[in-house]
């Protein structure tokens, strides 16, 4: 109960920050103030908030869970590749998006695409795909909130109530505070998580009797492979370096790039981003691996046992039996279980609040979706003059409420695994949409038809992967199920974790084909008018 009380206190602080941001706006109903905090964020808030926006529950809890089952490879797959690619994309693409936003008054990426390629409905197609890929985040955020409150309160707060509380809190500060409230809350949450994450490592390490003994013990056990990458394909590892391309293409990140007061705000963000990633991911991954050496936690032992059964008997099981056992290996709560085992009650509450902070990173997606609906659909087709700034802000607030309520209702009805899968597709889909941004910003000859071809390809490819994984059940750990062989190579195969195309993850061919389509179709179709090209590429 103490832990739950601390978490509720934290939630109250978060709501207050949103209300404070509303007061700071002093009742202004300006579009740029609500959607972009008047393009006025300073360097510290810009770094912490941008980083916090990228560090979702999926990243924090999922990294420990992935490391528990797959070992140290998790850091190389998801963290160190992001440490290079994400800040690099912020430097090359984010700064240009900021400059164009400042010059031409853009609020969303689709506004940029429409203006750059002189198109209207093609922008709507891009908007539709972005919205479809982003929606599952909002649902999974509400689910994560419900689950975390349930665990932290020791089952006292039921899932439906926890989800409702989190949805209400997020809705409140996004509704009132807009981008300023969201950025401040994200900054507060990121600082909290960095601080309590450090404490967690010390407390858990001390509780386990030191990490040296745990690491040596793991090396001497049958699980020693978790400390190297001997069971991971180098091609699979390489494929993962394409995933962080998704970051800059996520609409909430692109929109966030427009909030900086000056372009120099990007400097510290770009330099410190890799260190922030290390500060959060290194302990999460290491603790996830070391959880395999934790005795006396029945839930962790059950996960380890399910993993052993799947590896040894998985091939004799039916797909349905494998799914049941695989579900038991899910270790996303392993960090919470470690805290429960080693942290004193008051500290568990503080750390639970820190984890809630990560779970609630869904606020940026809600704000981005409401911004996109308002600006890219209603205002675009209805006309800016007709609505006026006040009406646009009110419409955005209405969307915040509608989206949150919708996400909550869906979260109560649908199984979580569906949305976890959808998020995996989203990363791949947005990575494959990144050529659109590159072409718009760097290539004069890119055209709207090239953009349309890339977008349709991404939509088709994401759907095809989803259908394939739905039709061919995931095999047991070991060799993949080959669906199509070409020239003696495994052209298409179902792996335990997803799909492989010539040994690569689908993101690799999807990004390459998307870029190729942009190039080829742009070559074959007429360029935008010289006036537009001159505005974007001044001599």
């Amino acid at each position: 109960m103490i832990a739950a009380a601390i978490v509720f206190l934290y939630l109250a602080i978060v709501v207050y920050i949103g209300v404070f941001a509303f007061r700071k706006a002093a009742g202004t109903q300006e579009v740029e103030d609500y959607f972009l905090a008047r393009r006025s964020l300073g360097p510290f808030v810009f770094l912490m908030s941008l980083f916090g926006t990228n560090m979702t529950a999926f990243a924090i809890l999922g990294s420990s869970g992935h490391a528990f089952n797959n070992g140290i490879v998790t850091y190389g797959l998801m963290a160190s590749s992001s440490a290079l690619v994400i800040p690099l994309s912020l430097l090359l693409i984010g700064t240009r998006v900021w400059a164009l936003g400042k010059r031409f008054g853009f609020i969303t990426p689709v506004q940029l695409f429409r203006d750059r390629w002189e198109c209207s409905h093609i922008g709507t197609v891009i908007f539709t795909l972005q919205a479809v890929l982003l929606l599952p985040y909002v649902v999974i955020g509400v689910m994560g909130g419900g689950t975390t409150l349930n665990v932290v309160s020791g089952g006292f707060v039921p899932f439906w109530l926890g989800g409702a509380v989190v949805a209400l809190v997020v809705m409140s500060y996004v509704f009132f505070g807009g981008m300023r409230g969201t950025a401040w809350v994200n900054t507060f949450q990121t600082v909290l998580f960095l601080l309590f994450g450090t404490i967690a490592v010390v407390v858990i390490g001390y509780g386990m009797g030191g990490f040296r003994a745990a690491a040596e013990g793991l090396l001497g056990s049958p699980l020693s492979h978790l400390l190297s990458r001997e069971r991971i394909s180098p091609w699979y590892f390489f494929s993962y370096t394409f995933i962080p391309l998704s970051s800059i293409a996520f609409p909430h990140i692109t929109i966030f790039c427009l909030t900086a007061r000056r372009m120099s705000q990007f400097k510290k963000t770009v330099i410190f981003y890799p260190l922030c990633i290390m500060a959060i991911w290194l302990p999460c991954v290491f603790l996830g691996v070391m959880a395999n050496r934790v005795p006396d936690v029945p839930q962790i032992e059950e996960k380890a046992e399910a993993r052993r059964v799947l590896a040894e008997q998985g091939r004799q099981m039916t797909p349905e039996q494998r799914d049941v056992v695989r579900a038991k290996t899910d270790a996303d709560d392993v960090l919470l279980l470690l805290l429960d085992r080693y942290a004193p009650l008051w500290l568990a509450g503080l750390l639970g609040a820190g984890i809630m902070a990560a779970v609630m990173a869904t606020d940026s997606q809600i704000l981005a979706l409401s911004t996109m609906f308002t600006e890219d659909v209603l205002t675009h087709y209805g006309g800016k003059e007709r609505f006026g700034e006040h009406a646009q802000v009110q419409m955005a607030r209405a969307f915040v409420v509608i989206l949150t309520v919708l996400a909550y209702v869906v979260a109560l009805q649908a199984p979580e695994t569906i949305f976890e899968l959808a998020i995996q597709y989203a990363f791949t889909g947005f990575a494959a949409l990144s050529p659109l941004l590159v072409a718009a910003l760097f290539w004069k000859s890119s055209t709207r038809w090239g953009a349309l071809a890339s977008t349709l390809w991404v939509a088709l490819a994401v759907a095809a992967v989803a259908v394939f994984q739905g039709m061919v059940p995931a095999p047991a750990p070991g060799p993949p199920v080959v669906a199509w062989r070409l020239f003696g190579l495994d052209a298409l195969a179902r792996t335990p974790g997803g799909t492989s195309v010539f040994g690569f993850m689908p993101v690799v061919p999807m990004v390459l084909v998307s870029a190729l389509l942009m190039i080829v179709v742009s070559w074959l179709t007429p360029r935008p008018s010289p006036a537009t090209i001159a505005r974007y590429f001044p001599r």
Binding site: I72, V73, Y75, G76, A79, S80, S81, A83, L84, P87, L88, L91, T95, R96, W98, A99, L100, K102, R103, F104, G105, F106, Q111, R114, D115, E118, C119, S120, G123, F211, R212, A214, A215, L219, L227, S228, R229, E230, I232, P234, F238, T241, R262, M263, S264, K267, V270, I271, F272, Y273, P274, L275, I277, M278, L282, V285, F286, H380, R535, P538
Partner: protein, 80 residues
Amino acid sequence: MRRALLVLAVVALYVLHQDVWFWRTARPLVFGFLPIGLFYHACFSVAASLLLWLLVTYAWPAHLEAEAERRPGAGVQDPE
């Protein structure tokens, strides 16, 4: 020349991410508990930060800020 060196450094770091030389071994355990593969990638993150500092220092697109400040509010064009 400086720009070419920076591009080369970015490509080199990207290639260094694929550290096949530490693929199948956990030892040595750095500080007595950190597997070498994990330590390497932590160092990779620090190297990325240093490289980005170099890029920000020597390849910062300052002209973009100047252009953005010089030509404010040109307005969004009407759609087709």
